[in-house]
C-alpha cells in the first residue's frame, strides 16, 4: 500500500524546519534510548544512510554516529553511502523491526543502492531495538502530532498485514 496523495499532500506545504524538528526530536530520542544501536553498527555507524519514501515529497538522511537526521525536499539530490527507496510503510517496517525485514529488504518494492553491507548492518541493528515510531511521533510532534500519528499509524497497520519473499 501507499500513502494516499491526499494524506501526503500536507507535507508539500509544511515548512521543512517544522518536519525537521519533529523528526529530529524522535531521532534524538531513539538514539538516546538505544545506545546499543551504534555499538552494533560498528564501522557502519559512520556511514550516511538515505531513506527515500516514494510516496512522500521528502528524503531523510541519517548519520548514526553524529547522530543526525536531515530532512530534504525530494527534489534535492542527496549523497549517501547506502540508500533505500520505497513506500513509507516498508521503510517504517525496516526501522521498527516490526516484522521480518529480510522480506522487505529484497522485495521488488524496495530498491537498495550503494553499500549493501552497511544497509544490512543497519537493518540488523535496528531489529534489535524496540523502536515504536507512531507512539514516539504522536507524543513528540507537537501541534502536528495528529497529522503525523494518523499517517504513520495507518501505514504501519498496513505494513503488518503484508509480506514479501525472504532472502536466504
Amino acid at each position: 500500500m501507499r500513502i494516499p496523495p491526499a494524506m501526503a499532500a500536507p507535507f508539500d506545504f509544511l515548512p521543512l524546519f517544522v518536519i525537521q524538528r519533529a523528526v529530529g526530536l524522535v531521532f534524538a530520542q531513539v538514539m538516546a534510548r538505544h545506545p546499543a544501536l551504534l555499538d552494533r553498527l560498528g564501522d557502519h555507524g559512520a556511514k550516511r544512510y538515505g531513506f527515500l519514501p516514494t510516496d512522500l515529497p521528502l528524503s531523510f538522511v541519517v548519520e548514526p554516529s553524529i547522530p543526525m537526521i536531515s530532512v530534504l525536499r525530494r527534489s534535492v539530490p542527496v549523497t549517501t553511502d547506502a540508500a533505500i527507496e520505497g513506500p513509507l510503510y516498508l521503510l517504517l517496517a525496516l526501522l521498527e523491526g516490526k516484522y521480518d525485514a529480510d522480506a522487505l529488504f529484497f522485495s521488488r518494492d524496495l530498491s537498495v543502492t550503494g553499500d549493501m553491507e552497511a544497509m544490512l548492518a543497519l537493518r540488523n541493528a535496528l531489529d534489535d531495538c524496540d523502536i515504536d515510531l507512531p507512539l514516539d511521533l504522536g507524543a513528540m510532534a507537537g501541534p502536528f502530532g495528529p497529522l503525523v500519528t494518523r499517517a504513520v499509524g495507518y501505514v504501519r497497520e498496513q505494513a503488518l498485514l503484508e509480506e514479501a519473499p525472504a532472502w536466504n
Binding site: 555499538d39 560498528g42 557502519h44 523491526g97 529480510d102 553491507e117 531489529d127
Partner: protein, 325 residues
C-alpha cells in the same frame, strides 16, 4: 522433541524464549560463528544477560562456535569456548576437530554438540565424534532422508537434532567453497556466505540484475520478486537449459513429517534463521510450538501461514524426501 530456535540479536532471543523455545542458539559477534553478518550476534555482556533471561524461563542456551579456526588465530576460537562456558552456556555447537579436542580437554563438563557444519552424515562419522570428543548430540546435515536418519539413530550413542524449518543449503554444509571462490569469504573460514559486501543490484532495461563479486547470479524481469544473490540459488545456463541449476528459491519445511522424525529417534528440531528478524523468529517459533502440540490433522492449517514468510513463498522437504535428489 525439543524445539531449538535461532537468535541473531538479544531482542530475537527474548522473542524466541517468549514464543516457546526449549533452547535458543546464538553466537558471538565475530568470525567464530557461521552467521557472521554485519550488525548481528552477541557481545559477552549480551550473552550473559540473555542466558540469565533464558534461565529464568527454564530455557536453555546453546552457543554456536561453528566455523573452522584460522591457523595462527586459534585464540579467538579458544576464547569463545572459554567465555561461553564461563557465561553458562548449556551446550557448545562446534564444527572444528581442533576446537572440539580443546573443549573436551579443557572443559570436559561442557556439553558438546556437533554442528551441521561438521558434516557428520553417517554412523561411523558420528561415532568418531562421540569417541574422540565426547559429543552428546549431532546436528545432521540436510542430506539425509528420514529412513536414513532412522537407520542412523539405531547405530549411534548420542542424540540427534535435525533442521525442520528455514533456509536450505543445497550443498552439504561445511563442505562448500562456492562463496570464497567468488568473493574470497567463506562459511568455513569467515562465517559468511555470499556476503553483502560483494552484492550489487543493477538495473538493466526492465530487468533487475543481481551480482555477487564479478558474477551475475540472477536476473529478474519486471514484476518478479527479487532475491538475494545466494550463490547456489541463482539462475545459470547449463548446456541447453537455463534456470535454477542447483535449487529453486524455496525454504525447508518438514513439519509435515514430525511424527516420522520422532519415530526415527530424533531428539530435537532446529529452526534455521539467526539472520532473520525478531518478528520472523517470534512467528515461526510460536507456530511450530503450536504445531508440535497439535494432532496431525490440524498441523497443515497451522503451518500454512508460515509459507508466506518463506523464501520465494515456497517450501520444500529437501533431502528428507528421496525424490528431491
Amino acid at each position: 522433541m525439543e524445539l531449538i530456535c535461532p537468535a541473531g540479536t538479544p531482542s530475537a532471543f527474548h522473542e524466541a524464549v517468549n514464543a516457546g523455545a526449549d533452547a535458543v542458539y546464538c553466537g558471538f559477534r565475530d568470525e567464530t560463528n557461521a552467521r557472521n553478518f554485519p550488525g548481528l550476534n552477541f557481545s559477552r555482556d549480551e550473552l550473559a544477560q540473555s542466558i540469565a533471561y533464558a534461565r529464568s524461563k527454564e530455557v536453555m542456551t546453546f552457543v554456536a562456535i561453528n566455523t573452522f579456526m584460522r591457523a595462527g588465530k586459534e585464540a579467538l576460537w579458544y576464547g569463545a569456548v572459554d567465555d561461553a562456558v564461563r557465561l553458562g552456556a548449556d551446550a557448545l555447537i562446534l564444527a572444528d576437530f581442533g576446537l572440539m579436542a580443546y573443549t573436551a580437554e579443557r572443559h570436559p563438563q561442557a556439553r558438546l554438540h556437533v554442528s551441521v557444519q561438521a558434516s557428520a552424515s553417517n554412523a561411523d562419522a558420528v561415532n568418531f565424534l562421540v569417541e574422540a570428543f565426547g559429543a552428546k548430540r549431532v546436528v545432521l546435515p540436510r542430506i539425509l532422508t528420514i529412513p536414513d536418519i532412522a537407520k542412523l539413530a539405531k547405530k549411534i550413542s548420542c542424540e540427534i537434532e535435525v533442521f525442520v524449518f528455514g533456509g536450505l543449503c543445497v550443498m552439504a554444509e561445511g563442505r562448500c567453497s562456492l562463496s570464497s571462490y567468488v568473493t574470497g569469504k567463506s562459511p568455513n573460514m569467515n562465517g559468511v556466505c555470499s556476503p553483502a559486501s560483494h552484492v550489487h543490484y543493477r538495473q538493466d532495461g526492465k530487468d533487475l540484475v543481481s551480482e555477487l563479486g564479478d558474477f551475475t547470479i540472477n536476473r529478474f524481469p519486471a514484476g518478479e520478486a527479487a532475491g538475494y544473490p545466494t550463490l547456489c540459488k541463482g539462475r545459470f545456463d547449463v548446456g541447453d537449459s537455463s534456470g535454477y541449476a542447483f535449487e529453486d528459491p524455496a525454504s525447508l519445511d518438514v513439519m509435515a513429517h514430525i511424527d516420522a522424525l520422532r519415530e526415527a529417534g530424533v531428539s530435537a528440531l532446529k529452526i534455521e534463521g539467526r539472520q532473520r528478524g525478531k518478528a520472523y523468529v517470534a512467528e515461526v517459533v510460536s507456530t511450530l510450538r503450536k504445531t508440535l502440540a497439535a494432532g496431525p490433522l490440524e498441523r497443515p492449517a497451522l503451518m500454512s501461514r508460515l509459507h508466506l514468510l518463506s523464501e520465494g513463498q515456497r517450501t520444500t522437504s529437501g533431502a528428507y524426501e528421496k525424490r528431491w535428489r
